[in-house]
């Protein structure tokens, strides 16, 4: 029985993979790969950093990376919205640290931090779990961590760890994570939470959503200034059948269709297991 269930799970994962592949084709057409290139390059650099080096060398390399990230984040609104994809476990801590850094920079920029302060914030954020990255803990000694920076990094850490967890934990969709964070009232600084809410889409790229039409799809583009109305690629029709033809809906251009609810990947898999979504194409 267990084995049977196990096999069924594999099939579902395979189906999800099929959907992901289609999704990637859409993505390539819609987005330039430049942002992902930068993200991946930075990720590769920090992964290679655990090799013993002088502290000063590590510090300079990290500060240069943070500079590059600040520049990219300042000019690219989409950067924050790309890293919802899966990460291999061996890369997890690096991807997570990079995400915490990006979110922190974004919040710092929105709060009007000076360039120097953002740089320190970004640096402290990227090394917030330096021990797990194989980096020496005394790297942070040369920098003063202001209380506000600590708060920003704490919020960014929790947000990313919930929405983009290692494989042994289930992910919580951004909508639910942000709602929980907001409901903690003063446990997280409400001003910072508001900034995070403005900076992060509740439905980032890659998230599954159910529309008011009962169709199910994946967000393929977050529209600037209209983060609640992203562009969605529809995969499943209201009856639960996979669509043969691709269908893209830009919710910012369509006032009659809206997002009814966000769905997690686990929920999509469960729907497939329970035959709410057909496992084959109509």
């Amino acid at each position: 029985m267990n084995e049977e269930k196990h096999l069924k799970n594999i099939t579902s994962k395979h189906d999800i993979q099929k959907l992901e592949n289609i999704h990637m084709i859409f993505l390539e057409k819609i987005e330039a790969n430049k942002i992902e290139d930068i993200y991946n390059r930075v990720l590769e650099t920090i992964k290679g950093m655990s090799i013993p080096s002088e502290n000063k060398t590590l510090e300079n390399t990290l500060l240069n990376l943070v500079d590059l990230l600040i520049e990219t984040v300042s000019s690219q609104d989409e950067l924050l919205l790309i890293f919802t994809g899966k990460t291999f476990d061996e890369d997890y801590i690096f991807a997570h640290s990079l995400n915490v850094c990006l979110i922190s920079i974004r919040i710092g920029l929105r709060l009007g931090f000076s360039k120097d302060r953002i740089k320190v914030l970004g640096f402290l954020a990227i090394i917030h779990a330096c021990k797990d990255m194989g980096l020496p803990e005394n790297l942070r000694e040369g920098f003063t961590q202001e209380a506000e920076m600590t708060e920003i990094i704490r919020l960014a850490d929790v947000y990313d760890a919930m929405t983009h967890p290692p494989s042994y934990r289930k992910s919580i969709v951004p909508y639910e994570t942000l709602t929980s964070i907001m409901h903690t009232h003063t446990f997280f600084n409400p001003e910072l939470t508001k900034v995070l809410l403005k900076e992060i889409s509740l439905y980032p790229r890659g998230s599954w959503v159910k529309l008011s039409t009962e169709e199910i799809g994946k967000v393929i583009k977050v529209n600037k200034g209209q983060t609640m109305q992203p562009t969605v690629a529809i995969f499943i029709d209201p009856k639960g059948y996979h669509l043969k033809e691709k269908k893209i809906v830009d919710l910012s251009q369509n006032n009659f269709i809206y997002i009814k609810q966000p769905l997690s990947e686990e929920e999509i898999m469960q729907m497939q297991n329970n035959d709410i979504i057909a496992s084959s194409y109509q």
Partner: protein, 126 residues
């Protein structure tokens, strides 16, 4: 602790052996022990019994320990309850995260309970 009034402790672990070990040792000690075997049950029992402290495993199916702490924090009835996280594997990012979520302590599971008992006492006396 008031005379004759035992502190209520909620133990959350998906491993039943662990749960019964915790139960027998802590009950023998001087606590009223309530058990929950996952995060969802923890949230229900935290509301129902208003424990003085929660000792919770990090890795659990359904709702894991980390997500449960956030849920506890976001509920008016449970946000003040101190939480000690227990883990089989000590991972410093998980510890940072647990503390960022307001967990008061993060300990490694060992068969020796003295350390955990001391930590529980320290939190309850604060």
């Amino acid at each position: 602790m008031l005379f004759g009034k035992k502190n209520k402790i909620l133990i959350v672990d998906d491993d039943e052996d662990m749960l019964s070990m915790f139960f027998s040792i802590l009950s023998d000690y001087k606590y009223n022990v309530i058990q929950a075997k996952n995060g969802i049950e923890c949230l229900e029992k935290a509301k129902k019994f208003a424990p003085d402290i929660i000792v919770m495993d990090v890795m659990m199916p359904e709702l894991d320990g980390i997500a449960t702490v956030l849920k506890l924090r976001s509920d008016e009835q449970t946000r003040h309850i101190p939480v000690i996280m227990c883990t089989a594997v000590k991972d410093s990012e998980d510890e940072i995260l647990a503390r960022n979520l307001g967990a008061v302590d993060y300990v490694r599971k060992t068969p020796q309970m003295e350390d955990l008992l001391a930590r529980i006492e320290r939190v309850l006396n604060q």
